[in-house]
Symmetry: C2
């Protein structure tokens, strides 16, 4: 309770400094202090407590550190238990999965569609315009569908396959943007009696640049900061090593352990398993976001001297799901606004059908990409995306509130592992299609759970219900 | 990724508003938007990424919510496991332990010393002054030692006993402050040829008021806000119910489980057990702090219309241990400054011996209070307090840094459960005194652990060491 001194040891904050001025608890440096008229060294003054709402300003910065420490402590235990139970599951050679020749060939094959698009564009003036349009769309759709079908048909390595598919989606969107913007610029040039011809240089720069919307010019930076690029590359490699460790050591055993209660329907064990997967799953998601949307796109931008680096906004402060979907992925969002939403609304569509149309396109791509690692169309990724439409409406009333932010996080944190769990279950059992025997079983189990809940209401204690559930195989 | 709209859904922050003004991603309300000269609806602009250090201002408020959610999620699993394993251990009737008649009588007996102190004070003018001083000190020391010895001798209920002892410490400090300040005021009055006599009303108000330093007058508030008092009382009751649940359901089983590895020396299980206790132990500590230093003292202050409510400063932002000890408990700190530190330094003591002297007094009281629930003097509470002196010196260089704040939290979070664990071990085995057979055993185990660590350095993998430890009973 002791050691008085003038020097403040706290992180200096405005509140802190203010308080130190008021403070009479710290005796001044001079040694011969006079007693005040009440016979005390210290003086009393009317002051509110710091936690009180009457206190003018306050800094709780230290409590953020405490949250981080508590989180690490809680999970350090899980790390120790995990090492005891499973030993080390990681194996650096797994990285070779990403370099399988079939996937690498498919990734390189994407350049083909880019050059074809440029070739088709060159036909303008020689070929009837609607035919060119049809050729462009065929080429663009092929740039996604051909790699997708090849991965599905040859069952190439799924981890590499999913990367190829993300690149294929990017190629599709870039090619579409390229010919749509070229059309507009050609029409505009024509109205001024000029001619517009895109240069191959412009197309290739657009393919390399971290944007999905074509433009003949972009804001550029003066030079490439190579030291900065190298540091970002190291961070990128380190983060993906971390993601691999978390996925291999925590998510995969967690998934496998939860398949058993999912099979015999132990409701509380399912919830426990879901919570056990949710934390590492979220860690992967947030690290993946940072490494792709901050590091990877910034590395690309630096290498191409691309100036506009707003790849995401502050979606972590979202209080509505709508704000999250508009801000977490600005390259795709901008593409959707540029080539779907704005053309539709300028043609007289109302806002909400245009938004729903955008969600349908997103949902289809999500389902097609997720289908690869699990070799299954469960339509859960599609359904999860489409569920966002009513959820966005429901959360609109929470705009600006902390509750809205918490609900947003919970929907992200619990929705994702649930979907992953259900895909993993059907994958492990070799079940295919949007509705399987396992789904019927799960619904029947939930059907059993409702009577258990109602017996709880009839005055049984919680522990009795819990024991009852355990005894009856719940 | 979609649903564009003008309305921002994020918690409004300065950064956010600024960004919305810059933002060209949200299309304006008007339906017929013109294309820009690059043929796009959207415009590109040179902008840094939000996570980049180049970005002017940033709000990470949403990530604080995510930390809280992750923490609750990680611990919800533990709640489920705990209910499965132990069922409900809590029992509302345990509260009757606090009301045992022997402890209640001891608590009321403290008033005796207060009135005796007033009586001794009245002797001034009739009895030789040093005799009065001796009587005062005897009375003050008796106010702590007599209840302490009674609790020890009769082995009254420990949970009630510790509350009585805290009140007894308070009584001791208040009585000492009363006669020391009266002496000063009497000397001052004498120098002005006046007389000073404390009134019983003043003493009784001082006993009720939330301060340990006597003064004939204090800043007062205008009136008692009864609604406010009732809300604070409800909070106080709710928090202590929570503390009881956490202690009974999590800390006690955790302690008991860790006694076995502590006995047979499974090092990693000891660490795991310590981490398992650390989180609920910290929760109890932080809730206890809030309920006593914010709620209880504010309730007292409101009821006595006491104006000076600075009972703690922002110790949670501490970056040095010194700042923490000077700020977490201002009533005791002020008493120490007023009646120990300032008198010593004005008599020519240097700062640091005076500080160490204060720590010795604190350490003695801590040891005496902790001795009651565990019926043992292990001198760990004393040692833990005295260890603060070198730690304060060591952490001085970290002043103002986040590292300092993290080290401060870790020393609080890990030091406390370690001490509780060691007291609990000897209590469970019926061992007494500052050094027991169990201590010898623990030191021998640590002795064994060092070769294991050095073999780790000689190139064994971590898992081999872990397995080796498990096999050899570690």
């Amino acid at each position: 309770m002791c050691q008085p001194s003038d020097e403040s040891g706290a992180v200096a904050t405005q509140s802190q400094e203010k308080q130190n001025q008021q403070s009479s608890g710290n005796p001044p440096e001079e040694m011969h202090v006079k007693l005040n008229e009440d016979g005390n060294f210290l003086s009393f003054a009317p002051r509110p407590s710091l936690f009180s709402s009457e206190h003018p300003s306050n800094s709780y910065r230290g409590f953020v550190n405490v949250l981080i420490i508590l989180l690490l402590m809680s999970n350090l235990r899980i790390v120790i238990q995990n090492l005891y139970k499973y030993g080390l599951l990681i194996n650096p050679w797994h990285i070779t999965h990403l370099g399988k020749s079939d996937n690498v060939c498919l990734a390189f094959s994407l350049w083909f569609y880019v050059f074809v698009a440029y070739g088709i564009e060159k036909l303008h003036g020689y070929v009837y315009s609607p035919i060119i349009k049809a050729l462009h769309w065929t080429n663009a759709i092929a740039s996604f569908v051909v790699p997708w079908y090849a991965i599905w048909y040859f069952r190439t390595d799924p981890s590499g396959g999913i990367i190829v598919l993300v690149f294929a989606t990017t190629a599709f969107m870039k090619i579409v943007s390229f010919f749509l913007v070229c059309d507009r610029l050609r029409a505009e040039a024509k109205s001024k009696d000029k001619k517009f011809k895109p240069k191959l240089r412009q197309l290739l720069y657009f393919i390399a640049a971290p944007t999905l919307v074509f433009s003949p010019r972009y804001p550029r930076t003066a030079k490439i900061r190579w030291g900065w690029v190298l540091r970002r590359i190291w961070e990128f490699i380190g983060i993906w090593a971390g993601i691999y460790v978390v996925a291999r050591q925590y998510v995969m055993p967690g998934l496998m352990n939860t398949l058993v209660p999912l099979e015999n329907g132990s409701f509380f064990l399912i919830v426990e398993g879901l919570l056990k997967i949710a934390v590492p799953n979220f860690l992967i998601w947030i690290l993946g976001f940072y490494s792709i949307f901050h590091l990877y796109l910034n590395i690309l931008a630096e290498l191409t001297r691309f100036g506009d680096r707003q790849f995401y906004k502050d979606w972590w402060n979202s209080t509505t799901l709508g704000y999250f979907w508009r801000t977490w992925n600005l390259p795709v969002h901008s593409w959707m606004v540029e080539h779907v939403y704005m053309p539709l609304t300028t043609r007289g569509w109302r806002k909400s059908p245009a938004s729903i149309f955008i969600f349908i396109i997103s949902a289809i791509f999500h389902e097609l990409i997720v289908s690869i690692p699990f070799w299954n169309f469960k339509l859960l990724a599609f359904g999860g995306m489409m569920l966002q439409v009513p959820l966005i409406e429901l959360t609109k009333c929470l705009k600006g509130s902390q509750t809205g932010n918490v609900i947003f996080w919970l929907s992200i944190m619990l929705g994702q592992p649930l979907i992953v769990l259900l895909y993993a279950r059907d994958y492990a059992q070799g079940l295919y299609g949007p509705w399987t025997d396992a789904d019927t079983k799960t619904v029947r189990l939930l059907h059993c759970f409702l009577p258990a809940l109602s017996s709880y209401r009839r005055g049984q204690s919680f522990v009795e219900v819990l024991n009852g559930c355990v005894e009856t195989g719940w």
